[in-house]
Structure formats: structure tokens, C-alpha cells
Symmetry: C2
């Protein structure tokens, strides 16, 4: 029987044996929502890197660059971390090098996995359908905020967890149960639920409320971003 | 304004600045429930140590010893990790050296705090009343299970979090909000709620269902266990 686990913070990833498993990395506000949006709007591929320096170096090689730290766009890069900015038609067919405070770090730390997918509410069903079509155990890695768990990533983990559990996957850790219970509480109105949480309140102060509303939209895109040879690309759609 | 934070696993404790704060360590099943019970039933003090060797060495110095690993009593020690065993009248006035899989490790890792308290459902109100009588920020450290978060410690953190938040403490991390929401879901019937969770299901296989029911009893004891010079003792009752 397949298993599903939830890793509540990249700082806990060493506790999980990722070998042979599919990891779904999520950073709802906003890195993985950006990546989903970018690939859905025709960006060819995305190179997630941990440091600003690596991102800058790729910029010199001609790649489009995107960099965010502490919720804000870094100076000297083409893009920040707003999903709306990835709808720009001039990005179609391009490769974007991306570094963010949390999300890209979680991707880098998941390297031992059989396969790394990028999940967000924007492609929730696409991710779940792909997972169900495979025969691997699943670990959902929440990017959190500087090592701390956050609510929105946990809720996404819960949303995936509900679907997998309803399809017979075993929950292996209480963190999975925690995420599922929280999602069931929140799912009727994600935005209102998150408005009461500490981290989203901090983000609202950054004047990105349009981004937040967009990132909490369910199933806008039917893409499955997957890491292949160090780049995120859109996986060919798999029919279950 | 005072703040309350929840650390969901001892593996995340380095993210918290404990200086000047009161840490409440919890390991509901069963280390901190044992410690609460022991002090309430007349044990003079408890020495929490991280390793079996340290515990054994203290045994040679004449202390009563208690050791648990993976939920089971270790051979060659006087006691295991059942709270019921601490009701033994022959333990009155004695000092017990204790090592457990998770709880004592969390205590050792919290050394930087202004003060370390031991919390369980058995002394929930006593802990909350003491915290409210102080002027320090609070960090609730969940011991979890081998680095993973578990539901019962998170629920206790939520129970304390609800009381502190209702008394004007600010929640500083989403982990606090997560714990509070989960506790509100669970509080009507903690035992039934936990029966559905992965970790408690595993513990039930160890044939400790009486212990579990006991550890989920609210406010049986009015003691506030506090670390003083490397030993846990019962704090004099403070009237708010």
C-alpha cells in the first residue's frame, strides 16, 4: 500500500527517507505558485538555485533571472516572486533562473527523491492525478518560512493528503493528519482562514494581496512541473 | 505585549531565541505526564538526562532510575515510562533520574531558556496560571517522536496557546495557530481524536491504553514542575 508523509519544514527533511519516493515541494506564497504559473503560460523551463550568486551567474549566461528575499524582489534581477509577472508573453519559450527565500531551498534539499514535483493550489488536481497514476510513496515538503512551518504550505499538504488518503494511501506521520485536519477546517474559505494566521498577516504588509488571492485559486492550471536534469519542466499530461 | 510561540519538534529549536523566555516542554505520551504525576505524588525531584549511560551512572550514586526507549522500559532500570508507576508511595521523598526517547532530549535542548517548565494535560491549568502570573514570553516545545511532530504534544501546545491568546498574548508563528486550531477541533474528546492519529495508533500497539487515557485527563494535579539546578522540582504554587 502506498504511503503519504508530510514534512512540515525543510529543516526536518533529514528525518525522511526520500529514496524511491515522489516529493512534492510546495511554497504557496509564492515560489511554487510562480513556477506553476510560469510553465502554464509557456515558460520553457525553470532553474531553481539556492543562492543569489548562482542566479546572477546564470543571468550572465543569458537566462532570465528571478530573485526574492524576505518577500521582496532583489535589485538587479529581471523578476521577483509575483505569479502575475510570469504571464508576460515575452517569457514564452524562455528559461528562467529562480532563487527565493524558502521554496528553491526546499527543492535543492529534496535532491535524493525519485522525482521532484512542484505543487500549488493552482495545479492541485493535476498533481494529485499524476501521483495517483504512479506507484511511488509520496512526501509533501512544505517550504515554510525560514525554517518555520507556515499555514498555507501545510494546508496544501493537507489538500493533497486528503485526496491520497481517500485513495487508500497510508498516513505515516501525525504531521500528515495535522495537515489534513487543518485543510478540512480551512477549505471552504482558504483566504479568510489564512487572513487570521501570523505569516499571511506579515505578507499582507508587503502589499501583495492580489498575489495572495491568486495563489489561493484552485486548479487554474493543468500542468505538472517536474525536475529533470536540474530544470523544472512541464510534464506531459498523464491520463489516469 | 507578551508573545507565545510553538516549537513543533526539538529539531526546530535552534530557530527559536529562548533567552529570557519561559519554555514549557511537553511530551504527553508519556514523559512529562510521568514527571507531573511523580512530583504530584511526592517524588522530591527528577533529574532528566539524555543518555542511558548518564542514567545508569546516577543509579550507581543511589538515585532511583527510570529509562524508556521506543516506548518500552529499558532492562536494568527501576522504572519505565508509565505515569501509574509513579504513584508508588515508596518513591515519596526520592530523587529519580530519568531518560526517555524524546521528552528528556527536549528538556536538555531548552537549556538557554530563562526558565523551563514541564507541562502535560494533567497540570494544564496550573501551567497556564503560572505563565499568566509572569512577564515573560513563552515557547512551548513539543517533544514529538524522534524528531517528527506528533499530534498529542501539538494539542497540548494548542491548549496552552488558546489560554494565552485569550489573555492577550500575541501568536508569533503559524505553528501556534496550527496548534490552536487543532486543539479546538480535538478538545471535546481528546482520546477519540487521537485514536485516529498515526502516532497514537502505534503507541496503542505497545499495550499502554490505560496510560494513554490517564495522560489525557485534564487538570488532575496542581503542580508546576520547574528545572532548578539540573533537577525538576515542584514550584511553590503561585496565586495569580
Amino acid at each position: 500500500m502506498r504511503k503519504v508523509e508530510v514534512c512540515l519544514s525543510p529543516e526536518l527533511i533529514h528525518l525522511f527517507d526520500l529514496k524511491g519516493k515522489i516529493v512534492v515541494v510546495t511554497d504557496i506564497l509564492r515560489a511554487t505558485s510562480c513556477m506553476t504559473t510560469a510553465l502554464a503560460h509557456g515558460v520553457k523551463s525553470i532553474i531553481p538555485v539556492a543562492s543569489l550568486d548562482e542566479c546572477r551567474a546564470l543571468g550572465k549566461q543569458g537566462y532570465v533571472t528571478a530573485a526574492e528575499r524576505d518577500g521582496k524582489k532583489e535589485e538587479g534581477f529581471d523578476l521577483g516572486n509575483s505569479p502575475l509577472s510570469y504571464m508576460d508573453p515575452t517569457l514564452i519559450g524562455k528559461t528562467v533562473a529562480v532563487t527565493t527565500t524558502n521554496g528553491t531551498q526546499a527543492i535543492v534539499k529534496s535532491a535524493a527523491a525519485h522525482e521532484i514535483l512542484i505543487g500549488s493550489f493552482l495545479n492541485l488536481d493535476a498533481i494529485c492525478n499524476y501521483l495517483l497514476s504512479q506507484f511511488q510513496d509520496v512526501v509533501i515538503v512544505c517550504s515554510g518560512w525560514k525554517g518555520h512551518s507556515n499555514m498555507e504550505d501545510t494546508l496544501f499538504a493537507g489538500a493533497v493528503g486528503v485526496v491520497l488518503r481517500n485513495n487508500g494511501y497510508l498516513s505515516q506521520q501525525d504531521s500528515t493528519d495535522m495537515a489534513i485536519y487543518l485543510y478540512i477546517l480551512a477549505e471552504k474559505n482558504l483566504e479568510a482562514f489564512l487572513a487570521n494566521c501570523s505569516h499571511a498577516r506579515r505578507l499582507q504588509n508587503l502589499d501583495i494581496t492580489d498575489d495572495i488571492a491568486f495563489c489561493l485559486t484552485l486548479n487554474k492550471y493543468d500542468v505538472v512541473p517536474v525536475m529533470e536534469n536540474g530544470k523544472l519542466v512541464s510534464k506531459q499530461k498523464v491520463v489516469v
